[in-house]
């Protein structure tokens, strides 16, 4: 019995060998780019010594994690990561929904498409260019804020790149400016899909625009809102590295409010050469991130089986 089943499978493999061959380049790539690094997380439990080689280095158990969590760093980067990303999720979702509803109300189709594409533009430029735009605004001597805006209100110039307290606002504004167009388009696509008859019936019944938005539009795009939010929560431990590293120009004075897990791992690896600490923080991020993805997907699956990733 087992013999024939294996024989069957073998026949299928031979018959469809071309299909299997096609997958080889992609599978090899995923092994190199994703699976070997996954196995590589064990270096968080090692004292990396380049002379001995990565895999021959000594095991040191949880020492790297002890160092990481003994300092204040682990708390600060976790707090920053979760607060920023949590706030971004709420703010971006609310603004994007509002914007999508307004855009949908515009009757001139050409104008509508024009607004939509301009709002999306910042999403498509690199963070490096965004940093230049922020420099033009905030440069201490030449920036637009210090030279044009603040004098209007009689405020003295501010050394933006060394005052940590302003950066939660600056990063939030930059994040909204850059990403809102993307979310807006997702929600707009969802709104456009709503059947017009709902609105016609509501208008006949004398429902105001506001009532229609509240009782038709928002409830009907709720599945999209929930999915997008849960997906974002699943990724709350991962930050936009460019936003937190590039935009503050990697300024040490701003670290208390701009350092997140991703920038911490990067600095540990590339600037301090502290692979132990860096890989421990990286593993911490991967594991908690993984749990959050599973958790958020579990909730999505309960709400709507079809929308879940798995």
């Amino acid at each position: 019995m087992g013999q024939t089943r294996w024989g069957q499978t073998w026949k299928q493999v031979v018959r469809y060998r071309a299909l299997l061959f096609m997958m080889i380049p992609g599978l090899i790539y995923l092994v190199i780019n994703n699976y070997i690094p996954m196995a590589g997380i064990v270096i968080a439990f090692k004292d990396i010594n380049y002379a001995k080689g990565i895999f021959a280095s000594d095991w040191i158990g949880l020492k790297n994690f002890e160092f990481l969590f003994k300092t204040n760093d682990a708390f600060i980067i976790t707090r920053n990561t979760i607060l920023y990303n949590g706030f971004f999720i709420i703010l971006n979702t609310v603004i994007a929904i509002g914007l999508a509803i307004l855009l949908n109300e515009i009757r001139n189709a050409v104008a509508k498409r024009f607004y939509q594409s301009i709002v999306l533009l910042p999403y498509l430029i690199s963070m490096v260019i965004v940093s230049y735009l922020v420099v033009a605004m905030l440069h201490v001597e030449n920036g637009f804020m210090n030279n044009t805006v603040l004098p209007l209100f009689g405020i003295d110039p501010i050394a933006w790149y060394s005052k940590a307290e302003y950066w939660p606002f600056i990063l939030t504004i930059v994040n909204v400016w850059k990403n809102i167009g993307y979310l807006c388009i997702i929600f707009l696509a969802s709104i456009v899909g709503i059947d017009h008859e709902y609105y016609e019936a509501a208008t006949i019944d004398g429902a105001s625009k506001w009532a229609q938005i509240k009782s038709i539009t928002v409830p009907l795009i709720m599945p999209t809102i929930i999915i997008m939010t849960l997906l974002a929560i699943g990724r709350i431990f991962y930050s936009d590295f460019g936003l937190f590293y590039q935009v503050p120009l990697n300024s040490g004075a701003l670290k208390s409010t701009t350092d997140v897990i991703d920038t911490y791992v990067y600095r540990g690896l590339m600037q301090l050469g502290d692979i132990g600490m860096s890989s421990a923080a990286g593993l911490y991020q991967s594991v908690v991130g993984f749990v959050l993805v599973l958790l958020s997907n579990y909730i999505v699956a309960k709400k709507d089986r079809d929308q879940a990733l798995f």
């Binding site: 995923l30 196995a39 533009l121 498509l124 260019i129 030449n142 044009t148």
Partner: protein
């Protein structure tokens, strides 16, 4: 009816203000790059400089060989990365879309799991530098971005599975076409919309990528335009220090219009995208919506 008209007007005014907020930073950048150094010192970066000048662009023209080289590298990695990435993705996605594939669930899981878990920066960096020795090679700008993870593969697989009728594939097979023939002459042509969309997303990702250059490159001669921009943001003299043309750097350094040059560099970096954007924005929108719904 009248109040409706008024609402539309108010709405349009609001939207114009909003689009202005999106565009004005770019305008500030462009105007500042044409401002004279004296104007920038006096008024800062402003929409109304006291004096205009082409000095910044003249200076960059003098460094054009370095800039062209960086642009060349950007174009090279974008073309190679996009075409190779798209080919590998489609080749992996197609068998996964076929019900008959042996071990289909195992292979699907192998692709899918990369979305859930990743080793993170440190192991990835060590794999590429210590095992594959890609530090300071152009491969380091191409390889890490080819697939990134299985997301695009799942999108393409779903398209193949839902948009290509199985009877077409079966009848081609009965007519004696090989699996490769079926893939290249039937499946690929029928899937142009999704391939174009994913291709566009890959193009944007490669064109904008600065992260791989930041971690894998220390040699300026391999820098893409994004890496060059990145380095010049904090070190405006960078271009001169690494001038490949070997011109009289010290003579220029004396009166280098640093503040305007910085803005001019960014303009040179962003203008190509701004120019092609109007023609491709329709596809961007489509691609983003496709990407957001489940793969």
């Amino acid at each position: 009816m009248r109040s409706n008209e008024m609402n539309q007007t108010a709405l349009n005014i609001f939207m114009v203000v909003l689009t202005a907020a999106c565009l004005l930073p770019f305008l500030l950048l462009i105007i500042s790059s044409f401002a004279s150094e004296q104007s920038i010192i006096k008024l800062g970066y402003t929409f109304f400089p006291s004096e205009y000048s082409l000095e910044a662009y003249k200076y960059l023209w003098g460094e054009s060989s370095s800039l062209l080289r960086a642009y060349g590298i950007t174009i090279l990695i974008t073309v190679i990365g996009t075409s190779v990435g798209l080919t590998i993705s489609a080749l992996l996605a197609y068998p996964l879309s076929r019900g008959v594939l042996p071990f289909k669930y195992f292979f699907s899981f192998v692709v899918f799991f990369t979305l859930l878990f990743n080793g993170g920066l440190v192991p990835t960096y060590l794999v590429y530098t210590e095992i594959f020795h890609m530090k300071n090679t152009l491969l380091a700008l191409i390889i890490p971005g080819l697939l990134t993870n299985g997301f695009f593969i799942l999108l393409i697989r779903t398209y193949f599975a839902t948009s290509i009728p199985v009877p077409i594939i079966e009848s081609a097979y009965i007519d004696g076409a090989s699996e490769y023939r079926i893939f290249f002459s039937i499946v690929m042509p029928l899937s142009l919309p999704i391939l174009a969309t994913i291709g566009l997303m890959l193009t944007i990702a490669y064109w904008n990528d600065w992260f791989n250059g930041l971690i894998y490159l220390t040699e300026p001669r391999l820098f893409s335009i994004q890496n060059l921009l990145n380095r010049m943001l904090t070190n405006i003299q960078f271009l001169q220090q690494n001038s490949f043309a070997g011109n009289n750097a010290s003579a220029i350094a004396a009166n280098l219009p640093t503040n305007a040059v910085r803005m001019a560099m960014a303009v040179i970096g962003v203008v190509p995208l701004l120019c092609v954007y109007p023609f491709f924005q329709k596809y961007f929108v489509k691609g983003l919506v496709v990407g957001a719904v489940k793969g």
